[in-house]
């Protein structure tokens, strides 16, 4: 064992393939909305994207902290200041304008935090889903324009982030499940951030809960969670009873060892679907999930390898 524990390299996007994959790979509907310069909100299973003239101005997801939460969590902006700005914002002058003109926040800090929150929530909003998204034409987000992001850039980054998580640890289960601590013989030296995350793992909290409690970006928390999982320090809590209903979009098909109609790309398990077309009976799903049949395990490995391409 060497002294340092090198994290895997950050993936570098291959532009040609990324463009190809982004085309319909993330959300064909979003690509179309960008082309027609639509204004409104795209609601998907994992979250919502706000568009203004075809550019993404805000993203939100129940799994990620919003801009408000990121700014108030560590006292950058006081809660009452945010609420006041929110109540005074209207169609023409967004929340951002009030925060800046009131001197509550520097423009650079607002832009930085806004971009962080936007990419963070978009990662979850653009996760593979089992239901189509809905778009409501309307007005821009109440925040107002801070730094609008082109759809193509957002899709590329989302794909790159999936790759990044997959390279750290290819099992996406720790992203969603309650986490437990596990014993390991040779624990690597942890960063302060990882340690404070580890200290809060108690068998009930999920990565999203931890991000909320610590006031951190959800994707950054996933990076730490996957690293801790790779180091053998944490694991998703094993479900006490047979999984019913399936907990991830790919769970049912994964149990059968074949890709489902919407195979989730590695590193980005979607949210629990409202209902798969034909979920297997729980006892069969359970049996198949833990099967040692060499044919099924071979198919699973083949599927994992194909998804990792």
């Amino acid at each position: 064992m060497t002294v340092v524990d090198l994290p895997p390299p950050l993936p570098v996007r291959d532009k040609a393939t990324a463009v190809e994959r982004a085309w319909g790979g993330v959300s064909p509907m979003l690509t179309r909305l960008a082309a027609e310069r639509a204004t409104g909100v795209l609601v998907r299973e994992g979250g919502a994207l706000h568009l203004d003239g075809g550019l993404v101005t805000y993203a939100e997801s129940p799994l990620a902290l919003g801009l408000d939460a990121l700014l108030t969590a560590h006292g950058t902006v006081r809660g009452e200041v945010w609420r006041e700005a929110l109540s005074r914002a209207d169609e023409h002058r967004g929340v951002a304008r009030f925060l800046l003109s009131g001197g509550h926040l520097a423009e650079g800090a607002l832009q930085l935090c806004h971009l962080a929150a936007l990419y963070d929530a978009a990662y979850f909003a653009l996760a593979p889903s089992s239901t189509p998204g809905r778009f409501r034409y309307g007005v821009g987000h109440r925040l107002g324009a801070v730094v609008p992001v082109p759809v193509a850039a957002l899709e590329r980054e989302t794909l790159r982030r999936r790759d990044l998580l997959h390279r750290i640890w290819p099992d996406p289960r720790p992203d969603q499940a309650p986490l437990v601590r596990t014993r390991t013989a040779a624990a690597p030296r942890l960063t302060g951030r990882q340690q404070s995350l580890l200290d809060r793992i108690d068998g009930t909290r999920t990565a999203a809960d931890l991000a909320r409690e610590l006031g951190r970006q959800a994707f950054h928390t996933l990076v730490d969670v996957r690293r801790l999982a790779a180091a053998g320090l944490i694991a998703p809590r094993p479900s006490p009873e047979p999984p019913s209903p399936p907990t991830a979009p790919g769970a049912a098909s994964a149990a059968y060892g074949v890709p489902g109609p919407v195979p989730p790309p590695p590193g980005a398990a979607g949210l629990p679907p409202p209902g798969l077309a034909d979920p297997p009976p729980p006892d069969i799903a359970e049996r198949l999930a833990h099967t040692t049949d060499p044919h099924i395990t071979l198919l699973k490995r083949l599927r994992d390898a194909l998804e990792a391409l």
Partner: protein
Amino acid sequence: MPGIDECLLEAMRLPGARGAALVDWTSGLALGAVGESPGGDHETTAAEAAELARLAAEHGAFAATDDPGGERPPVEDLIVSNRDSYHLLRFVDTSFDSSVFLHLWLTRAEGNLALARIRLGEMAERLVLG
């Protein structure tokens, strides 16, 4: 009060500046970039610089001794020099959760490393404090 682009453009006014970017070192995302980039692609440069920044920030060997394991960036800046240029990475300390640094690329013939280091530190502070 400068935004991200103004801050990067200000960095580009330093003698010998060839390119500047603001990068998230956890994800490798370039939040903003101006000027040239080694190899011609800001996104690739950002991902590679982010790796270096993360190694420096996460290994205890380089951390300040007064606040080990704290939430603030443990490293102030990183300097990489080669035969024809300097790279200067300045960590940005924010009161909200983030992991970003400013990356400035200077030609060696015209760049003044000491001046750039001081100015970039000031810019990083002004970016978040106004």
